[in-house]
Amino acid sequence: MLNPIEATNLSRSFGDIKAVDSIDLSVSSGEVFGFLGPNGAGKSTAVRMLTTLLKPSGGSAQVAGFDVVKNPSTVRKKIGVALQDAAIDPLMTGNELLRLQCVLHGLPKRSSSVRCGELLERVGLTVAGDRRVGTYSGGMRRRLDLALSLVHEPEVLFLDEPTTGLDPTSRIALWEEVRNLNQDLGTTVFLTTQYLEEADQLAERIAIIDGGKIVREGSPSSLKSAVGAPTLRIDVSENDLPSARTVMNRFGEERPAQKNRIAIGLISGTPGITDVMNALADSGIEIQHVELDEPSLDDVFADATGRRLEGGKA
């Protein structure tokens, strides 16, 4: 059985500019897949091709088992899409928009009412359902957008930068909703984002896109561990410093650190921290403070492109 999203050599050019350059994608059923990259990397162009809004210049893509060029109308019945700018009519109420969306997807009138009520409750907009969308906050609009993309219980949900422009509280609330959705309904989620934390928090697997090409792909932890060993830092008293250094050097190469602090690149990765702590305790060394600094997705991005993502940790 085909994966819900499969793309081979998918490309799109605008004149001489290759917005998406021969990318391959394979997203498993029930997976939350993160498509991470800076502005202009080609994320939205890829989503527009996968959601039948834009014809590919080359390659092919199947979504929910159907070719996006040969069977676009079937694909549209099986996908839910929340686009980048929360495309919502400000003159209509949340309830009216949900009912419109039900009709567009051919839902029977009777079940539509129930479905709209359920969805408003799911995204916490029951009270605001009869208010015009023009009065909604950015977070409410995004949550309504999410509800609109769910009316027909899609097999695959595309979220194009769902939290761009949201305040931290609204962002976390939306993450929680996406997590619940994936866990409760098993919906496959294809999420584009420029936020490292968002990809790290939500996605089981990530593809990093830059200049239209996928430059890294894998689970966040595997991508980060591939960049290098995490840095383990411990603070000890000045007297314990020489013996602590001897013990620590058995577990990895020493890295620069402040006074009374020893830092190493922990070769065995995060799980190896227990061995280090035990060895230090066996040597009678009193540990005053411990820090383990995992490589971030920004380090992964920097390793792949030589640049840092905006907002990433330098």
Binding site: R76, A87, Q101, L104, G106, L148
Partner: protein
């Protein structure tokens, strides 16, 4: 899940009409300006009907300008539907429609339907106000219904050009920039003065202006009473205009869709 086109057209038309009603600034000028002009012209040009060569005898200037004001009001608002469509394109609501399994034709039909409903509402309100101020509509109900139908179809036909522009440019500003053209087209026609009394280039343009060919038979019905010939002439011109406008709209919709599939 069913995928019936008819409920989609009804629901999208409902949305278009609702959107229009909730923006009084979009339809109020189309109601206000024709009434203002009618009031000014009726008081200032009331004796114009006595000028030698005036084509209608024993008629008030209010009766004379009634069909023109109705048509003017409808034309002033005919870009509303197109402007709302351009807004949908600008704010990506159109993309929401296109990623759903909605029939592509229903997107266009719903906008034309809202233009029709706008024409019906605008014409009905304007005729009622004119009647309240003493305008006499010869032929009674058949003439009134004819004027409403003419106004509604004219709204669709002129609106369809705006819709084609909206689909082509996706810009509300460009759509609204066509308004002065409509304004000029109304004034260089027989709307407020009979072409028989016009001279020079102004008269020449007015005689060749399709709006004159719509207004004149509509006016004859208002003053002389209902006539199938006059109704047919008005509708014939409107349908000819509509066939070009709707054809252009379909072409532009296809052009926009071909970029996707």
């Amino acid at each position: 899940m069913k995928n019936n086109v008819f409920p989609q057209v009804v629901k999208l038309s409902h949305r278009s009409i609702l959107g229009m009603l909730r923006q009084p600034q979009s339809w109020a000028p189309g109601l206000f300006f024709p009434l203002l002009l009618a009031a000014v012209y009726s008081s200032q040009f009331s004796r114009a009907v006595t000028i030698e060569g005036f084509p209608f005898a024993d008629v008030s200037f209010l009766d004379f300008v009634l069909p023109a004001c109705v048509i003017q009001g409808v034309l002033f608002g005919s870009t509303n539907s197109a402007s709302d469509l351009a807004a949908d394109i600008e704010n990506s609501f159109m993309d929401r429609l296109l990623v759903s399994p909605v029939s592509r034709g229903s997107i266009l039909i719903s906008r034309l339907a809202s233009a029709f409903m706008y024409g019906v509402a605008q014409a009905t309100i304007l005729i009622s106000i004119f009647a309240a101020f003493g305008a006499n509509i010869a032929g009674g109900a058949p003439t009134i219904i004819s004027i409403v139908v003419i106004a509604a179809l004219l709204s669709v036909s002129m609106g369809s050009f705006g819709i084609a522009i909206a689909l082509r440019t996706g810009s509300q500003e460009v759509v609204q920039s066509t308004f002065p053209l409509i304004f000029v087209a109304v004034f260089v026609s027989s709307a407020f003065f009979p072409v028989q009394l016009m001279e020079g280039w102004y008269g020449a343009i007015a005689r060749k202006n399709p709006l004159t060919w719509v207004i004149d038979p509509t006016r004859r019905m208002t003053i002389h009473g209902f006539s199938w010939n006059d109704l047919g002439q008005s509708l014939g011109i409107i349908l000819a205009i509509a066939s070009v406008g709707v054809g252009l709209s379909i072409r532009q919709l296809r052009r926009r869709l071909v970029r996707a599939q």
